[in-house]
Amino acid sequence: MGKGLKICLLTAAVVFLTGCGGEQPVISGSASMIPAVRLLCAAAGGGWEIQGGGSSAAVADVREGRSTIGLMSRDPLPEELGTDLVCAPVAYDPLVVVTAADSPISFLTKDSLRDLYLGKYSSWDQLGGASRPVVTVGREAGSGTKDTFESAVGCHGSCPTLTAMGSGMARLMIAGNKNAIGYISAWQADETLTMIPIDGCDLRRTLYFIWRKGDETAQSFYDFVRTPKGAQLLAQAGLLPAEESI
């Protein structure tokens, strides 16, 4: 048996065995919920493995038994849930409209925000701001943040100047351009950005847990999240605890 064969076998072993992990139940899904879920898991005594993968993958992961709890940051479609999955609201993720630290405007109404995104203004001084060009920052198709923003503001089908792929890019693009305006989750806003109050507009999306009907591990974790302690942790992560329940 040559050295080459040994190396081959070793490589094969490494490749096949890395997939085999411990027996911990898995929480997977939307990246925007993961920081909050980390806090909750730690407070519940750990024992969960947390993975990303996105809202859409979460449904398949739970249905096929790869995950115990799925995280969704958009409203699930009825055909996605079927009859075998439970979907429960956990929290609201408030979105904020932001500009760079050196802001071209201090206040906007919902209508002027919509018109901005529909391309009706070219300079901030048309809205009483600085005399600088308007640069709108949007998000890529399929983003839950984009869906929430566009349906709340009423600017579906708009074509922003810049399109950020992911919330991290959005933050960099807005913070780096004093002409820009954009939207991100409130908990992602930091001191490099200025929040612009929007009059008459409730910008928030609902975050959900999904699990298989009758799964007690998932149910007890959800129950913990809905206790006052869980609500306090959600608030600490920058989310609003959900009012309604299943």
């Binding site: 040559g2 080459g4 996105g54 809202s55 859409s56 600088r132 060009p133 308007v134 640069v135 949007g138 890529e140 198709a141 399929g142 983003s143 839950g144 984009k146 869906d147 579906h156 089908g157 074509c159 922003p160 100047t161 810049l162 399109t163 950020a164 792929m165 992911g166 890019m169 960099l172 693009m173 780096g176 351009n177 002409n179 820009a180």
Partner: protein, 276 residues
């Protein structure tokens, strides 16, 4: 180990590599199939990209033009710069300055693309913005400059080593005839290294076409036809940015875009010619 056993092991390794590669290709085509059959020619001739629109539209022509034009421009720029560097460095005795140039090139060739991209996004784009007085600094031109900076080191390295490997007689003979060094390089050395230069260019083209992080960060991201100061989106950036969220026909259209990228990169795989 005798020669026979070595060759047979090489064959085994080739098969072990080929099977997953072919499987990956099949999976890619399988994923792209719904979009290819339902959208057909509209995928590459359509000009409107709105996967979440009503009705959804999957026209990739603006992104295809961006990728091809951006790749072409940055390759041309990188080619020009590397030839200039070769004119300066070719046919010289390996001095310390020459060695430090080589070192610099190899170090910058090893810089990960995300580092260059972050530097361009946070430093170069704002500088371009204030220099041009435009509303944004992340546009087609910034992406071209970034891609050029990313392929230039490896392209120049390959070119310089090719010149290095040429027989010394070529340089010596030329210089002995009293031909200026610049003419020796441009009229003798560069033509002699033509084949390797071509290979290096094709490899760089392949890298430019496939580059995702860089163009995702500095090109502005909005789908439109390429124009130097307009925010644009490259095909690879669309795939990298939207695939994590995409489902159904949207996902399939992105995989069709991946097939398209593969086709665009084919010249890099098959266009090499043997040494002259």
């Amino acid at each position: 180990m005798n020669r026979f056993r070595f060759t047979s092991r090489c064959r085994l390794a080739a098969v072990l590599f080929l099977v997953p590669a072919v499987l990956a290709l099949l999976l890619l085509f399988e994923g792209a199939f719904p979009a290819l059959t339902q959208e057909g020619i509209r995928l590459i001739l359509g000009t409107h990209w709105a996967p979440d629109g009503d009705p959804a539209a999957f026209g990739m022509l603006p992104m295809i033009c961006t990728t091809v034009a951006g790749g072409g421009c940055s390759l041309l720029l990188a080619y020009g710069c590397s030839v200039l560097i070769a004119l300066w460095a070719g046919g010289r005795k390996p001095t310390r300055r020459w060695a430090s140039l080589h070192f610099l090139l190899e170090v910058s060739a090893a810089v990960p693309s995300v580092v260059w991209s972050y530097f361009f996004l946070t430093a170069v784009a704002p500088a371009i913005q204030s220099a041009t007085g435009l509303p944004v600094g992340t546009h087609f031109l910034t992406a071209i400059l970034l891609l050029t900076v990313m392929v230039l080191p490896s392209l120049t390295s390959l070119l310089l080593s090719a010149l290095d490997r040429l027989p010394e007689d070529l340089t010596m003979g030329g210089l002995a005839l009293g031909v200026p060094r610049l003419t020796v390089v441009s009229a003798l050395l560069l033509p002699a290294a033509r084949g390797e230069l071509r290979t290096a260019l094709l490899l760089s083209f392949g890298r430019i076409i496939g580059e995702t992080t860089a163009v995702l960060m500095v090109s502005g991201g909005t789908v439109s036809f390429p124009s130097f100061f307009a925010p644009v989106r490259f095909l690879s950036a669309a795939i990298g940015g939207e695939l994590p969220y995409a489902t159904g026909l949207h996902q399939s259209a992105l995989l069709a875009a991946a097939v398209l990228l593969l086709i665009l990169a084919l010249p890099a795989a098959f266009g090499k010619e043997g040494r002259p």
